[in-house]
Symmetry: C2
C-alpha cells in the first residue's frame, strides 16, 4: 500500500477509524468491528467482501463484472485475473450474488449460483441484451455498501432494492427489500462462472419442487475438471410464476416439445440456463432466500438447509454468525499503536479463517476425489488446499489458533490421498478435484509441522506412508527424474530449480516424520533427498541455477528474470534462497554470512527493470521492495533470513517495513493475492514478533512485533501474553526478549515456549541491537 | 415375414431347425435351445442378439455400425432408425460390444461402454482414421456367430479374435481369445452412443485403479436428458500399458499440462474420450473382462461386480444365466405344429423378459428421477417403461407369468411418481429420466389391470392417488384442454384424436381403480371422462376426427393419412377404432356390427397407396396387411374386434394369419419394432388363444391358438393346460371352447378362469363357427 493509495482512500479510512475509535472497553469484545472484509478487494488481493462463517462452505458475495478469459479476437484478457473472487472495488455495477468464492487465490473457479433481484421488464442477460439494452446488472455505490464478518449489505440502485446477505456454514441467507412492483424478479443465473464465465458448464439441472422451493445442481469443468455442486433454494414468499431460458445450442433427443418448457414448467436442464421467479411486491416488502449447498446431492442440500436455518429470522442467523466470528477472532486479543493497525490485524486474522472450507453435509457425507460419496468418520472434511501457499504460515498458524481444525484438515488430506488414484496427498485441491496447480508436495510440510508440534490425533504412521507415497509418484512433475538425477533437469521439466528446492524441503519434512516415528531407514533416505538443493547450486556464480540432464548448468541464465530460468513465479535472487531445512548450509554455499547479508540488502534495495516484471500476474510493483517480492509466496521467509547472518536487526526493520507498506486497512491493503490466507498469516505471525521460516521444525524466527500487546487464548487452556515494551513506529528494533522473565538468547523461539503460555516481552528500541 | 424372406433365410432356418429337431424329450427341458436372439435383428425388429439375464441391467451386445442422425449436409439419415439396438443383421462389421441396449424400441439411446479387442498397431477410431485408414472395426460373418439366451459368440475376423459374452444381472462378462501378439489391445470407447453417436456425451470420467481394474462413469444428454451410468471394469490379466485420446475440443483450466496425460496416467476425464489397454498375448490366450454397471456410483458398480461375479469362471456365469432363462422360459411349455413355431414362440417369450430392466445396485440403492440416490425398500426397482407400447399386452402378460415382477414394476412407477416434480407416473421413462415419448398416461392401465386381477401388494390407494395426480397435470400434452373441452382440440395440440381416445381409456382405468376402492365420486368423475371419445367421433363420416377448439371438426381430413390428421403413428382407419373401454358403444356409434365388421374387412384387404406410408418409420409394408398395421401398436387389438360384431371366426382367421405372416423364426421374424416386448407379448397371448383387448378389465378376447398344447406354471402354484384339439395349419377356426370340461359361451374368458388352472380345450376346425 503506497502513500498515494492511502490518500486516495482517506474517506474510507476515516469511516473505519470512526467506528473503531468509538469503541468502549466492553464493546471491544466485539472483534468483528475491527474487521473490514473490503481489505484486499482492489487490485491483486483477490479477497471477497461477502458473507461467510469461519471456514464456511458458503461464501455469499457480490459479483461485480463478467470476465471473459479470451476476447473476441482470441487475445487473453488480463482483466480476468482481477476477478478471482468475483469482486473488484473499482467497479460500479453488481451482476448478482454468488454462493462460492475463493479468498485471495491467484487462479480461480467457482461463482456458483448467481442470484440477482430485479424489477421492471424481465431481462435475463447480465450485461446487455441481444438488442443491446441494459442487462440485469445494477449500479451501486460504496456509500451504500457495508461489509462485516458474516454480513454484507448494498443498495442495488438500478432497482432501488436493498440487498442483505448473511450465511451459516452451508446456507446463504439473502434478504431483498423491494419497492412496490408487479414486476419483481429473482434471477438464478446458472451460466455465470468465475473465470471463463460462460464456457465452464457441463450441465445444470433445476427442479421447482413447489412454489417456494427449488433444487438442483451444476457441473463444471473449470479449474476443477469434474466438479459438482448441488443446491436447495427456499423463498420466503411463493413466486407467482417462473421460467427459464436456455443459452446453449444443445439439441435434445427427448420429447420436450410437447410442453412450453420455458414457462412454469418445473423441470429445467441444460448446459447454460438462466431461471427467473416473478413476484408482486409491496413497498418495503422483504423477500428472503435461503440457499443451501451440498457436494453430495440436492437432497443433501435440503438437509443442510433444514438443519442449519429452520426459520426465516435473518437477524438471528446474522447474529449467530457474528458470534462464530467473535469466537475465532477473540483467540488473539491485541492492542496496537494505531486504530488502523488493529483493523489490518483483525482483518488479516479474518482472512486466515476463510480457507480451507468445510466440505461435507451436516450428516458428514461428502463427495470424494473418486467422485463417490464418503462419510467423514471422526473428522470434519475440508477442501480448498492451496498448499504451495498455505504450508508456509497459514497451517503453522492453525497449529496455534486452530489445532483441532488443522487436525481435521490433515485427516481430510489423508482421505484425499486414500481416494486419489495416484495415491497422492493434495497439491492444490478443491471440490473433490485435484487441479495440480503450482509445485511441490507440501502436504508433507503441513503433516510434519503438526507432528513435530504434537498437534492433533491423526494417524501418524498413515500420514507418513501417504507422504512417502506422494513423494514417489514418478510421473508427477519430474519426481522420477528428481530421484534419478538428484535434481529435476531443466531440459526435462520446466521450473526445475523451484521443483528441486521444494521437493528437497518436502523430503526433509518426510525425514522429520520418519524421525518422529523412529523409522531410521526412511529418515536416512529422505535426509539424503533433502540435500538435493545442493545439486542445483552453481558455486561459480553463487546462484541456484537450472541444470540439464547432462549435468551441465543451463547456459543462458539471468538470475533477475522470472521466465524460463528454472523458477516459477520468482527469480533466482528471491526463489534461490529457498532451503528452509538447512539455512546455515545454504548460506555457507553462498559464500558465508556476510556475502549472504549483502545479497539480502541488495535484494531489498536494487532497482529492477520493468522488463523483469512484465507479463507476470503474481509479481507487481505494488508487492515489491526493490527486487524483493512480498506480493508472492516464494520470498515470504526471506526477510527473516538475516537472523542467520548475524544481522537480526535487519530482519526486524525489514519486517516492520513490510508490515507498514505492504499491508493496510484499505481496499488496497493487500499487496498481492492473499492466497487463501497465507499473505495474512504472514502478517499475523510477524505482528506477533515471530515467523515459521521452517515448518516441520519447532522453531520460529524472531522478528519485530507490530502489536503493543497480544493475548493468545491457546487451545490447551493457557494464555500467552506478548508485550512490546517501548513500542512505537520508530522503535522497530528488539533489544531483548524475555520469556516468563527469563532472557531469551538467539533469534528463534520454539513452539513449546509459545504453548506453555505466560509472558513474552520484547523490549523495543529505535537502535539496532547488532549482537 | 414374407415368403421371399423365408427363402432368403433358408440356410439360417435349417440351422435353427436342425438343433431343435435333434432334441430328445429330456433335453427339451432346456428351453433356451428354442430361443434365437437373432430374431428381429433385421430391419425394424430392433432387437439385439447379445447376452443378458431376464430383465437384466446389462445388455451386452455387438454394435455393427455407427449411425449419424444427421449427415454432413444436414439431412436426416434414415439409417439411424435401424440401429435402435445397435445391431443390424445385414452388416458385416462389428465395432465393439456395448453394455446397454434397448430391446425393440422405436427411438433410442444407450450403447454405453463400447469395448473392442484388437491387435496390431493401435487404432482408436472405429470406422476410419484421420488418415483414412481402416478403423478398429472388425469384419465378421454370421457363420461364426452364435447367440442364445445369456450368451453370444462371434469371431472377429480382422484380428482372429474369438469374442464370447455372457452376463449376470449387473455385470457383463467378456472372454476374448487372442492369437500370439505383442500388440493386443482392449479399447474402451466412451464416445460411442446409440443414436447421435458422437453428440450425446456430457462428461466421462475414468480412473485406472490398478493394473487390472478401471472405474468411471458417463453422463449423456440424449433421449434421457440427464443420464448417468457408472461402471467398474476388471481385467483377468494386468495390462502392460494404457492411455487415452480426447476427441472433443474442450479446453481445461486446470494444470494437467505437467503430465503426459495421454499415456499411463491413471485419471482421464472429458467429453469424448477413448481409452486403450495394451497386452502381450500368447497363442490362444484368453483375456476376460467383467464390466459392472450402476446408476449410483462407481463404488456401487464395484460392489455389484464383486457381489455377482466374484470369480473368473466364464462358463459358470454362462450356465447360471442359462438356468435363469430356463426358469423364466419354462413357465410356459408348449407343443407346436412345427419346430419353427416353437422357436418363434420361445423367442417371443424371451423377448417379453428383457424389459423393463432391474435398475438398482445389489444393495437396493438406485438413482431416482430427482437424481438423488434412493433405496428400494420392499421392492426391486425397474426402469425402461415404454408404456404406450407395453400396457397393451406385455404388462397383462406379466400378470400371468411375472406377477411378482409386475408388482415391483408398479412400485417402481409409484416411486417414479413420488420423485417426479410433476407428480406424474412414468410416460416413457428410462435411467432416472422421463423422456416423454408418445402419448397417454398408460401407467394407469398397468395399475388398473393389476388391481382388477388382484396382482401384487402395492398400495392401491397410493396408486390410485398417483394416477389421479397424473391425469390432472394440466400442462401435460393437452390434459388441461382435454378436461376443459371434453377433447383435445387439434388446433391446440397435435395428434389430438389419439390423445383424446387414449386419455379417455386411461380415465376409464382410473374409474376401475376408484370402483375397486369404493370411491364412488372419483369413479363417477372418471367414468364421465372415459366417454370423451364420443366428442371426437364425426357421425357424418363415421370416423374419429380431429375437432377444433370452436367445436367444429377439422375441415381437411383424410382418414387414410397418418400425418396431420389428429393421430400419431396411425390413421383414422386403424387408430380410430380405439375405445377398448366400451367397444359395444364404439360399434354402435359406427353404425353397428355389420358396418363395423365390414370396416374391419376393408381394413385388412384394401390397398393402401404408397403415399400413405412414406416418411413413416413405424408403418412399413413389412408390418401391414392391407391397411391394417401390425407393425405398430395402435392396431394390436383390432383383429380381436370382430368378436364384438358377431364375426368371431374372422378374429380367429385373422390372428392366425397374423401369427403366420408377421412373425417367424428368422432375423426378419418381427414385422415392426418389438417395442420392449409388446409385439412379442401379442404373439404369446395370441398363440395361447386369447388376448387382453381391454387391460383394466378381467376379460380376455378369445382368438385362435397357434400352439397344439401349452402348460402354464402359474405363480399361485396351479397349472393351466391349454389344448388345441385337431390343431393344424388349416384348422384356424374354433368350433368350441371348454374350461375344465364345461362349455364356454361367448367370445371371452376371464382372468379368474385362467388363474384357477385346469384345462382349457379349443376344438379346432377348418370351418368357421358363425354362431
Amino acid at each position: 500500500m503506497k502513500t498515494q493509495h492511502l490518500l486516495y482512500f482517506i474517506p474510507f479510512l476515516l469511516h473505519t477509524m470512526t467506528y473503531s475509535q468509538e469503541l468502549t472497553e466492553t464493546e471491544a469484545k466485539d472483534y468483528t468491528k475491527f474487521v473490514n472484509p473490503m481489505i484486499g478487494t482492489s487490485k491483486m488481493g483477490h479477497t471477497f467482501p461477502g458473507a461467510t462463517t469461519p471456514f464456511g462452505m458458503v461464501q455469499l458475495s457480490p459479483q461485480t463484472n463478467f470476465q471473459v478469459m479470451f476476447r473476441d479476437d482470441g487475445s487473453y484478457n488480463p482483466e480476468t485475473y482481477e476477478y478471482c473472487a468475483g469482486y473488484q472495488h473499482k467497479d460500479s455495477t453488481i451482476i448478482g450474488f454468488a454462493h462460492t468464492n475463493f479468498s485471495g487465490t491467484g487462479h480461480s473457479d467457482l461463482g456458483d449460483f448467481l442470484v440477482m433481484p430485479t424489477t421492471g421488464d424481465l431481462v435475463l442477460e447480465p450485461l446487455k441484451t441481444e438488442t443491446d439494452k441494459k442487462g440485469f446488472y445494477s449500479s451501486f455505490s460504496h456509500d451504500k455498501e457495508e461489509a462485516s464478518p458474516g454480513y454484507y449489505k448494498v443498495d442495488l440502485d438500478s432497482y432501488a432494492i436493498k440487498a442483505e446477505l448473511t450465511a451459516s456454514d452451508r446456507v446463504g441467507f439473502h434478504k431483498y427489500t423491494f419497492l412496490k412492483s408487479d414486476k419483481a424478479h429473482i434471477i438464478l443465473d446458472l451460466v455465470y462462472n468465475i473465470y471463463h464465465y460462460d464456457t465452464k458448464n457441463i450441465w445444470t439441472f433445476i427442479r421447482v419442487e413447489n412454489d417456494s422451493l427449488i433444487t438442483g445442481y451444476r457441473e463444471t469443468k473449470g479449474w476443477a475438471r469434474t466438479r459438482k455442486v448441488f443446491f436447495a433454494m427456499a423463498f420466503s414468499k411463493p413466486f407467482k410464476s417462473y421460467g427459464h431460458k436456455k443459452y446453449d445450442d444443445i439439441q435434445y433427443n427427448g420429447f420436450y416439445r410437447k410442453f412450453n418448457e420455458g414457462e412454469n414448467f418445473p423441470e429445467m436442464a441444460g448446459k447454460d440456463i438462466r431461471a427467473y421467479f416473478n413476484f408482486d411486491t409491496e413497498e418495503g416488502e422483504e423477500i428472503q432466500i435461503k440457499f443451501a449447498l451440498s457436494s453430495v446431492s440436492s437432497a443433501g442440500a435440503l438437509k443442510n438447509l433444514t438443519a442449519e436455518i429452520p426459520h426465516w429470522d435473518f437477524e438471528k442467523t446474522k447474529a449467530e454468525t457474528k458470534a462464530k466470528w467473535n469466537k475465532e477472532l477473540s483467540k488473539i486479543e491485541v492492542t496496537t499503536m494505531t486504530p488502523e493497525d488493529k483493523i489490518t490485524f483483525y482483518t488479516a486474522l479474518y482472512h486466515t479463517n476463510l480457507s480451507p472450507i468445510i466440505y461435507e453435509d451436516v450428516d458428514g457425507q461428502y463427495r470424494g476425489l473418486d467422485q463417490n460419496i464418503h462419510n467423514s468418520d471422526g473428522f470434519t472434511n475440508y477442501t480448498i488446499f492451496s498448499l504451495w501457499d498455505t504450508y508456509r504460515a497459514l497451517h503453522p498458524l492453525f497449529n496455534i489458533t486452530q489445532p483441532q481444525r488443522n487436525n481435521d484438515m490433515i485427516k481430510s488430506m489423508l482421505a484425499h490421498h486414500d481416494q486419489s488414484v495416484h495415491k497422492m496427498l493434495p497439491i492444490w485441491s478443491h471440490y473433490a478435484n485435484e487441479n495440480w496447480c503450482m509445485i511441490g508436495y507440501h502436504a508433507t510440510s503441513v503433516i510434519a509441522d503438526a507432528m513435530v508440534k504434537n498437534v492433533g490425533d491423526f494417524d501418524k504412521q498413515q500420514a507418513f506412508q501417504a507422504s512417502v507415497s506422494t513423494a514417489n509418484v514418478d510421473y508427477f512433475d519430474g519426481i522420477g527424474d528428481y530421484k534419478k538425477y538428484g535434481y529435476v533437469p531443466e531440459d526435462k521439466n520446466d521450473a526445475s530449480v523451484s521443483k528441486t528446492l521444494e521437493y528437497a524441503y518436502d523430503d526433509w519434512c518426510i525425514a522429520q516424520m520418519a524421525e518422529q516415528l523412529g523409522n531410521t531407514a526412511a529418515e536416512k533416505e529422505y535426509r539424503q533427498r533433502s540435500t538435493f538443493y545442493e545439486n542445483v547450486f552453481d558455486a561459480s556464480i553463487g546462484f541456484m541455477r537450472p541444470k540439464l540432464a547432462d549435468g551441465s548448468f543451463k547456459k543462458e541464465f539471468d538470475p533477475l528474470d522470472t521466465h524460463g530460468q528454472g523458477f516459477i513465479e520468482g527469480n533466482a535472487w528471491n526463489y534461490g534462497l529457498y532451503v528452509p531445512q538447512n539455512i546455515e548450509h545454504m548460506i555457507a554455499l553462498m559464500d558465508g554470512k556476510k556475502r549472504f547479508s549483502d545479497h539480502l540488502d541488495q535484494l531489498f534495495t536494487m532497482t529492477l527493470e520493468d522488463k523483469y516484471i512484465e507479463n507476470n500476474e503474481d509479481i507487481t510493483r505494488d508487492g515489491m521492495i526493490g527486487n524483493y517480492v512480498h506480493g508472492n509466496e516464494p520470498s515470504h521467509h526471506v526477510p527473516y533470513l538475516y537472523n542467520w547472518t548475524g544481522d537480526a536487526y535487519k530482519t526486524q526493520s525489514r519486517v516492520r517495513m513490510i508490515m507498514d507498506t505492504m499491508y493496510g486497512p484499505t481496499v488496497e491493503g493487500l499487496c498481492g493475492n492473499d492466497d487463501a490466507g497465507q499473505m495474512s498469516a504472514w502478517y499475523i505471525f510477524s505482528s506477533l514478533g515471530f515467523y515459521p521460516v521452517t515448518p516441520g521444525s519447532v522453531d520460529y524466527a524472531l522478528g519485530s512485533p507490530l502489536v503493543k500487546t497480544a493475548t493468545l487464548q491457546l487451545d490447551n487452556g493457557k494464555k500467552l501474553n506478548i508485550t512490546a515494551k517501548n513500542q512505537s513506529k520508530k522503535n522497530v528494533y528488539v533489544s531483548k526478549v524475555t520469556i516468563n522473565g527469563k532472557l531469551k538468547k538467539g533469534t528463534s523461539i520454539t513452539h513449546q515456549e509459545l504453548m506453555q503460555g505466560g509472558q513474552i516481552v520484547f523490549e523495543m528500541s529505535s537502535k539496532p541491537n547488532k549482537n
